[in-house]
């Protein structure tokens, strides 16, 4: 990185590497990329994911909102935000973003599957929840 400090891909790779080692530094690397390329929503989602893993949930949500503002009709972005929330152990928030992704791309088997698996997880998370079960069953049955 000393040789190529504006290489965003390299910084992101380094940031990903740092996540299990030094989460604060991981955030710094992601933040540097966003500062270099503030208009790229994907980088803001990666920063948000790093922030969540560093325990900064509110700051992460702000980055996700900024990413959505930059590309409000992107189902891929919503799905990525859902995935980041799911990875950070926030299935309820993941659910909202996966729902948005499926609304934006209603024919997507992938988004139906993602949403179905989150409903499945929530169906037994705190006792048994029939509504989540029924949603999960319908969505997963709809995917071939």
């Amino acid at each position: 990185m000393e040789l190529d400090p504006e290489n965003a891909d390299l910084r992101l790779r380094y940031g990903q590497f740092l996540v299990p080692v030094d989460r604060r530094e991981a955030v710094e690397q992601h933040l540097a990329v966003v500062e270099m390329f503030p208009g790229v929503p994907e980088y803001r989602i990666k920063l948000g994911a790093a922030l969540m893993l560093a325990g900064a949930g509110e700051a992460a949500d702000e980055e996700f909102e900024r990413a959505i503002y930059l590309d409000p009709l992107s189902a891929v972005l919503r799905s990525d935000i859902g995935g980041a929330n799911l990875a950070a152990g926030r299935p309820e928030r993941a659910l909202v973003h996966y729902e948005n992704a499926l609304e934006l791309d209603p024919n997507s088997q992938l988004y139906a599957f993602n949403l179905g698996t989150v409903h499945a997880q929530l169906s037994t998370q705190d006792g048994r929840d029939e509504e989540h079960f029924e949603e999960a069953e319908a969505l997963l049955q709809s995917v071939e």
Partner: protein, 76 residues
């Protein structure tokens, strides 16, 4: 994958027959997958291992063994 996830869902909810159908369907749809091969090995083994309730995303072979072991327990 959706059928496996569906089977996992039914298993979590103790709907064993539905789980078995979902896993069988997954095997029909993708018989050459590594997961399906795992299922075949599970069936051809000398004995059915007893697995605890599966977590989502577990191997299909283990999932089918789990369902079979629960059926066995229920019938004993």
């Amino acid at each position: 994958m959706a059928r496996i996830a569906l089977g996992d869902l039914y298993l979590e909810w103790d709907r064993l027959e539905d789980a078995a159908v979902a896993y069988e369907r997954a095997l029909e749809l993708n018989p050459d997958s590594e997961q399906a091969k795992g299922a075949d090995r599970g069936r051809g083994g000398a004995g059915v291992c007893s697995y605890s309730l599966l977590q989502p995303g577990a191997l299909l072979g283990e999932a089918i063994e789990s369902v079979l072991s629960k059926f066995t327990e229920a019938s004993n």
